[in-house]
Every structure is written in C-alpha cells, then in structure tokens.
C-alpha cells in the first residue's frame, strides 16, 4: 500500500512538473476555453441577446478546458515519452504501464479542474452568476462522476496512443467532436437529432447533464439517479476496455518495436 501511494505521488509529481506546469497547458486549461466562451458571449451580444445562459456559455468553457487538457496531456505524454526514449524504460520496469498512465491521467484531471474553477470564478465575478437554488451535494457528486468519466476516457486514449502513433491523428481529431457532441457549451437539444444519439456512448455527457440540472436545482432525484447510474456504468465499461487494451498494447508494441521509434 505504501509502495502504491509513493508511486502515485512520484508519478503525479513528475507529471505535474514535466508536463502540466507549462505555458502550453495553461493555454489548454485557460486560454482556449476563454476564447470559446468569449465567442459565445460575443455572438450573443451580436444577436442582441444580453443575458446568455452562464451555465453553458461560461461554465461550459471550464468543461471544455478540462476535456482539452485531458486529451492533450494524456495522449501527448505517451508521445513525449516515446520521443524522449523513456517509454521504453517505463515498459521495461516491473511497474505496469497501466498504473503509470492511470496516475498521470488522474493528475491531468485534477489539474484540469482548475479550468473549471476559473470558469466558475469568472462567471461569479465578471458576470454575476448566482448560486441560488443550486443543489450542492448533487452538483458535487455529478462533478465527481464527471471526473471519473474523464479519467476513464483518458486512460483509454492513452492506451490507444501507446498502441500506435497513427492513432495520434485520430486523437487530435477527437477533441472538438466530443466537445461538440456532448454539448459542453449548449444543451444537447440544440443538435440535430441524429447527432444527439452519437454522444450517448460518452459517460461525460450524462454526468454533465446531471451537473447542470443540479445547478439549476430543478431535476427530480429519480432523474439525477438515473443520469448518475448511466454515467458510472459507461465509465466502468471504458475502464474495463482500457484494461483489456492495456494487455494488447503491451504485446503489440513489443512486436512492432514502436516503443522507441518516434
């Protein structure tokens, strides 16, 4: 247990200093979401709509930051380790790559939460967002489930990336569509109906929906419960799938020799 915790802390410490604390992730966590939020606000302004919905337009930007941060750090890590030649050393050690990736993704998610924090702060300080009527415990639980869902997707993507560098392009391609389909900055109902169906496979869509309803304080408990249940269930499926993928990846990279190539 002590070993496990120490490994966790060391991994997260190195991850924080090597990858997360950089201007680059600053851009991902804060600049890019701020730009998207600004576009939303300015479009509202241009349309003559003085009070856009802050939960979507501003706080949604925070979710955007968490997601982009996750996609890039979780996948960039593996690529960076491959390039720096350290992936080989990690795989060659007795610690399973799965565990290393898990801890790193955890840190990425936690670091990404600062994006959420910044968005909420901006909503409160700049745009006078009020917490009236908010169902606090439900929001916290929804947010925890959102983090768990993100984490599961993160390790899934990292495994995919360890598998082959070709999937790199695929992952780059993933950032926007998922933001788009899961409705980070607008309700899903804005999408054409065929698009609404695609996002059902992502756990974060459900926890996000739960979180918003809890923020409005309007949803019935039964509805929240079912959203949480779905989110948790799909997250677990992602987790189990990554576990399975991990074994495959470990064999695959040792066949192709892609551990060390750039």
């Amino acid at each position: 247990m002590g070993n496990f915790l120490r490994l966790a802390l060391r991994q997260m410490d190195v991850q924080l200093r090597m990858r997360v604390l950089s201007l680059w992730s600053l851009g991902l966590f804060f600049t890019q979401p701020a730009i998207f939020s600004a576009v939303g606000m300015l479009l509202a302004h241009a349309a003559g709509n003085a009070n856009p919905d802050l939960i979507y337009t501003v706080i949604g930007g925070g979710i955007m930051g968490m997601w982009s941060g996750l996609v890039f750090t979780s996948t960039f890590d593996i690529r960076a380790d491959r390039r720096e030649g350290t992936l080989e050393l990690i795989v060659g050690s007795p610690t399973p790559l799965r565990r290393v990736v898990g801890f790193r993704s955890l840190l990425n998610i936690l670091a990404g939460s600062t994006s959420m924090l910044a968005a909420v702060t901006a909503a409160v300080l700049i745009f006078d967002y009020s917490f009236a009527g908010i169902n606090v415990p439900a929001v916290i639980l929804s947010f925890a489930l959102l983090l768990f869902g993100l984490w599961c997707m993160g390790i899934f993507l990292a495994n995919l990336l360890a598998w082959s560098r070709l999937s790199g392009t695929f992952v780059d391609l993933l950032e926007m569509p998922i933001a788009l389909l899961c409705g980070f900055m607008y309700p899903i109902s804005v999408l054409p109906s065929w698009m609404q169906y695609i996002s059902v496979v992502f756990p974060i869509r459900w926890s996000l929906q739960a979180m918003r309803e809890a923020m409005r304080g309007t949803a019935a408990n039964a509805e929240l419960l079912s959203l949480w249940g779905i989110s948790l269930g799909i997250s677990l499926v992602f987790y189990l799938f990554s576990h399975w993928l991990d074994v495959k990846v470990h064999d695959h990279i040792r066949v192709t020799g892609e551990l060390h190539s750039i």
């Binding site: 030649g85 050690s93 007795p94 040792r254």
Partner: protein, 330 residues
C-alpha cells in the same frame, strides 16, 4: 542446470514489418535477428560485437523483455521472458546508447528517484543508493542540475546509474561508452570491471574493439542477424594462428612497384592495399613475419617504403578480417 545460466537463447529470431509509402502502402520486412543461439554464464561479461544494423540492439531488447522475439526461446536467470516478464524485469537493468531516455527538465537525482519508484524501491534504500551511484558515475557534484544541461557523456553515465538503481543481477549495456571522452571511458570501464567483480553478469555491446578485448570474458560477433564467431578474445586472436600485422606506407605512384616486390610472399600472407589521396597503405597479415621482413628489408631506405610498422594482431584485425570474409562469401 538451466539455473547456472544468466542468459540462454535458442534460435532467437526477430522480424520487423514496416509500412511505407503515402499512396501505395508497401510492407517491408526486415530480418533483424535471424538465428541467434548462445548462453551466458552467471558472473560472465559477454560482449556482442558487429557492424551497424547487425542486430545487436534488437537482440539486447529481446533479452531485456522490450521486444518479443518472432520465434525462438529466451531464458533469463532461469526465467522464461514470456511467462515471467515482471520477475525478469525486477532482476535486470539496461541502458541503451544515446542521450534519450531521461527527463531533461528534471535533475539527475529526481530522474533516479522517479525510476526507483518504478522499481518499487524502499525510500530509505533509494536515499542511500542515489548518492552512491552518482559517486560511482562521477556525477555527485552535478546531481541537482537539470539533465538537459548535461553533456552527452554525462547523460550516458547517468544512464548507467539508472540501470544500476535496483541492484540488478544481470545488466545489459548497449554501447555504454559511446560519446564519452577517453578519461571518462576508462573510468566507465573500471566501473564495469568492478560490477563484474561484485558478481554481476553483464552483456555489453560496443564498437570499440579494444574495449571488448579489455573487458569481455567472451565475445560473439554478429552480422546480419547471425552469430558468425564466438570465443574468448584470446581465442579469437589465436584462432587466426599467431599472426602479425605489418603496415607499409608508400606513395600512390610506387604502389604497383611495391606490390611486385611483395609477390614472393603471396601464398604466405594476406595483403590488403588501400589507396588514399596522397599515400597508399599496404597491410600484410602473416604468420611468417620474418620472411616478409626479409623480402622488404632491401627497400626500407628507398622511396618505395615510406614507413613501416609491425605489431601483433589485435582484436580489431580479427574482427575486420571476419567481417570482410563474411562480406566476400555473401
């Protein structure tokens, strides 16, 4: 008694398939290692030599569980690399030549701590080991500097320290002295000898024949994925009988004349001529040096022979001869 062997391979093979091309994807097959069978005893220092692309690194990676062999079996410290992968990993250490494989933005100490954690080392032990190892590789005073500020030789030495962290029984060193200055390389060789004296088994690859000669108990020469010679360094050298090498230098115009003079010893020596821009070098490898001297001595003070140098055969001579012989016979 498989337990006596640190490494034991049987017909180890590795074939890479790579895809290329933008529009039309073609698959290229590289047989990096074709058929390698050898054993290394515990406590032995075994050298793997061979030209670029011979399959040394690929072999080392298979032995250190980083690549799966396409076919053949590998047993490390009595453990099967496929079944007992984790156990093998706990007991081996490895470094690969070059500057990659370290976190540049972290210090040496932080790098070592990071890897110590991957090997599940106790913190107390880690705290004791890190200064010891930095001392061993002569980096103690730079331990708290970021690795990106290191010279490539220093990074190379840090690699060695990293490989030794968890005190492995079996160590793979792929070109450990590449990029290290002569003094540093000498120190590193001393370190390697000390490791051997402490009972470690070491598999080393290198392009420096003198190094292999000095360090290795046994040597295998590998070319195009096959072992083409395996012996002790002394055995290799004497394998070609006790030959000597006589090197002559002459101007390019006189080369033909010199060759004519050497014709009497044709059957008794191997003569290699190399024409450079200004001078030509003639290298005569022979088991009868006195006969050669007899033939050339009348010409020693003439323009035909500018310099002469005689030495006994080195491992490098043997290596070059073996590889050239291979090339000649396809």
């Amino acid at each position: 008694m498989p337990d006596q062997k640190a490494i034991s391979t049987n017909q180890m093979q590795k074939t890479f398939k790579t895809r290329q091309g933008f529009w039309r994807r073609t698959t290229r097959v590289t047989e990096a290692v074709r058929d390698v069978t050898f054993e290394v005893n515990k406590g032995e220092l075994f050298g793997l030599l061979g030209p670029n692309g011979a399959g040394k690194t690929t072999s080392v990676k298979m032995l250190s569980t980083l690549l799966l062999p396409t076919s053949g079996t590998i047993t490390i410290l009595g453990l099967d690399i496929l079944r007992d992968t984790t156990e093998v990993r706990k007991r081996i250490g490895f470094t690969f030549g070059g500057a990659r494989g370290l976190y540049g933005r972290l210090t040496a100490v932080e790098n070592l701590r990071y890897f110590a954690e991957l090997y599940a080392m106790e913190p107390a032990l880690t705290r004791k080991r890190i200064p010891e190892l930095l001392e061993l590789v002569n980096l103690l005073d730079r331990g708290n500097d970021k690795v990106e500020t290191y010279s490539s030789g220093m990074q190379q030495r840090l690699h060695l320290a990293r490989a030794l962290l968890h005190d492995p029984e079996l160590i793979f060193l792929d070109e450990p002295t590449v990029g290290i200055d002569p003094v540093g390389a000498r120190e590193l060789r001393a370190t390697i000898k000390e490791l051997k004296a402490r009972g470690k088994t070491i598999l080393l690859t290198t392009h420096y024949m003198a190094e292999a000669d000095e360090l290795c108990d046994r040597i295998a020469i590998i070319n195009k994925g096959r072992i083409i010679a395996m012996d002790t360094p002394a055995g290799m050298k004497s394998g070609m009988t006790s030959e000597s090498v006589i090197n002559l230098r002459t101007s390019n115009e006189n080369l033909t004349a010199l060759k004519a003079i050497l014709s009497p010893i044709d059957g008794k020596a191997t003569i290699l001529c190399k024409e450079n821009t200004v001078q030509s070098e003639v290298s005569i490898r022979t088991a009868h040096p006195s006969r050669v001297i007899e033939v050339i001595s009348p010409w020693l003070n003439t323009d035909l022979i500018q310099t002469m140098e005689m030495r006994s055969q080195t491992l490098e001579d043997v290596y070059v001869a073996i590889i050239q012989n291979e090339e000649a016979n396809g």
